[in-house]
Symmetry: C2
Subunit: 402 residues, 2 copies
């Protein structure tokens, strides 16, 4: 938690990964984030993984530091409360993050009648408004057929919902950019961020689409080989699997040094009439000749021998480790100042991260847990919508809020 965005009030009406991470990043930089959900929870409220008592570790992971109000969104009076929240007044309010449909009761047109300078960031599936999720959009991009061993034709979807995550961060960027523009011009706007467009643009940004157009077909599967450079997993004498990577000239020469491969590689270069030193593409082209040299070099040493030599020699490498080992890895989790032990709504206390960036000049503020569903219903109705306590009681009695 940092306070860069102190004074912003963001309302989130959303579910799943993209829009909730957008608002999470805003909250971790000090914005007040009010998330509304249906009474009983939205479609992501019971999403796996679960604690033993059925509470969603996923939901509480994505909603840290937010306030929660529960509203019956099926009823007109509930919908009106959601609309008024999204468009609530305040200089750095009127900031709404959602994945509700473009033309529903939370359309920009509807909300802009309540607040003309509203900023709305809307996560969508397909750009045409049709149903699409990370998995179905990824399937349409060819990536599941580019992923995994060359000898297995089965599609491999990514386990990490990369398009959701990228869209969430891009939406946070879009929201603060639109606020900066509103400071300058007074104008609000709707920013629509379809997963499909973020994905299509990314495939182009990285050169995948131009490559496919040139070649006539997409990049083939190549197992764990790093495309266009030198890198792969290798096994040590004691059966450990390491990742070795050499893109830059320095990465390459250091790897050869430590593995004692300078002579062998020079002989191969002479035979092939190429120089690998400054052309990582040639290392990729001739990888079938290079791999046996590296396999033999790795097989001669144990991890315990290689690790300090790699580190001392500045080699770019890493071990494969399961997440349970990563939890004890001080480079990732153990003792990482990003994390604090926090009691979450599931009843469990475990390490929970604040903002993933670090600002050396600023002090980290405490990491705050996710809310219980509806924990801030009364507070939000009173402070944001200025409802009286009798009006709030009436809404509870009528089952419009909880």
């Amino acid at each position: 938690m940092y306070d860069l965005l102190k004074g912003l009030r963001v309302v989130e009406g959303a579910a799943f990964v993209a829009a909730p991470t957008c608002a999470l990043y805003l909250a971790q930089f000090g914005a007040e984030v009010i998330r509304f959900d249906n009474i009983g929870g939205g479609p992501d409220f019971r999403r796996w993984p679960l604690a033993d008592n059925g509470a969603s570790l996923y939901w509480e992971g994505l909603n840290k530091g937010k306030k929660s109000i529960a509203i019956d969104l099926a009823r007109p009076e509930g919908r009106e409360i959601a609309q008024r929240l999204a468009a609530a007044p305040g200089e750095d309010g009127g900031l709404f993050v959602t994945n509700f449909p473009v033309d529903g009761f939370l359309s920009y047109e509807t909300l802009a009648k309540l607040r003309a300078d509203l900023i709305c960031v809307r996560v969508m599936g397909w750009g045409d408004g049709s149903q699409g999720m990370d998995y179905t959009i990824n399937a349409a991009l060819g990536l599941p057929q580019m992923t995994g061993p060359a000898d297995d034709p089965r599609p491999v979807n990514h386990v990490l919902a990369a398009w959701d995550l990228l869209t969430g961060a891009y939406c946070a960027f879009s929201l603060v950019s639109a606020l900066l523009a509103r400071h300058r011009t007074g104008q609000g706007r709707e920013i629509r961020a379809p997963l499909s467009d973020i994905a299509a643009a990314t495939m182009a940004n990285l050169g995948f689409t131009a490559e496919t157009k040139l070649q006539g077909h997409q990049r083939p599967r190549m197992g764990n080989d790093i495309f266009g450079a030198f890198g792969r997993d290798f096994r040590t004498a004691d059966g450990k699997t390491l990742m070795l990577l050499a893109i830059t000239p320095k990465q390459w020469s250091k790897a050869l040094d430590v593995l004692g491969l300078k002579g062998d590689v020079a002989a191969l270069e002479a035979e092939l009439g190429v120089s690998f030193a400054t052309d990582e593409g040639l290392r990729f082209t001739h990888r079938a000749r290079l791999y046996p040299l590296f396999e033999q070099a790795f097989a001669r040493k144990t991890l315990a021998e290689l690790a300090p030599a790699f580190d001392a020699g500045g080699v770019t490498w890493g071990t494969y480790q399961p997440l349970e080992a990563a939890l004890d890895d001080p480079r990732l989790f153990k003792g990482n100042p990003l994390f604090e032990d926090v009691a979450q709504p599931s009843g469990l206390t475990y390490p929970v991260p604040g903002a993933p960036a670090t600002i050396p000049q600023d002090q980290r503020l405490p990491v705050t847990p996710a809310p219980r569903l509806g924990q801030h219903t009364d507070e939000v109705l009173a402070e944001v919508l200025k409802l009286s306590s009798s009006e709030i009681a009436r809404l509870h009695d009528a089952g419009v809020v909880a």
Copy 2:
């Protein structure tokens, strides 16, 4: 291209994916982005995929709409130019995006002597400053062992550099957030964004770490099954592979409707004593019983029969298609207003995307190509550093710039 960030001047000294995409997003929202590189190009200047003439489609994809200045960064005079650029004056200048080391000649301390309110966003590998790239950090998180078929123990790194991409978007968000704070307080700051911390926080945000702590081990490989819900690839009667997904109650009931599986599933529910309708986790738990029903239903129909029925019924599904087919898919590339045919420095003209978000109220500005390396050297030296033409000529003659 939109003009939300008009007036910002951002200097980029970076390579590879994360920091360049950060600055790309800023440029696509209207910031002026000046990228400096070593004369002859940085370590990413020849990165694959390549055009036939050796130009990097990757480099030109990531540097669209930026200005380029080429500097000999090995020489003190070149380094000083880079420092003065990073810390150049101007109300919405002093915005520097880099992946240079924390303590080198582009350290925050050094640059802040030139401009006290500098905002510097620094992409790092590992948080401790040691060498780490997307591939080696991903290996340390367990994901390559969670990805792919359960019957194959080989590690599967993602083809899409998800941590790089997420870090890039998060850095764009961080930079604009820091600028909002500077507008308020006048203070600059350094924001350090290590891939390792972005990755560790994300694994926690999504519940992976809490799950692993509870279970004692990470999630096992499960091929293409969607964790905690119902979803997988299925084959049609004509041998096409589709992705079907049912997380929400609506997605589930619509899929059963269209596939004619209501009766079979009700019988299975009765046998097991469960109800799948509102509990996606139960669908996952009992997926081995559900899959045969779906496999048979898919095998009875062709894609041509299923597709319109799925679309009419609102089912969440998608075909697997290779990227060459996606290029003709109007939902992704063909006719998508994000894309324009642009002549790039490689000499090729192909569809190039602007900002991946869409703002209905604003007009899209033209998509601009990547620069040739050093295309704006003289312009930047004259306009930003106010050097005279004779001084610029001297720098060229001395080989300090190109």
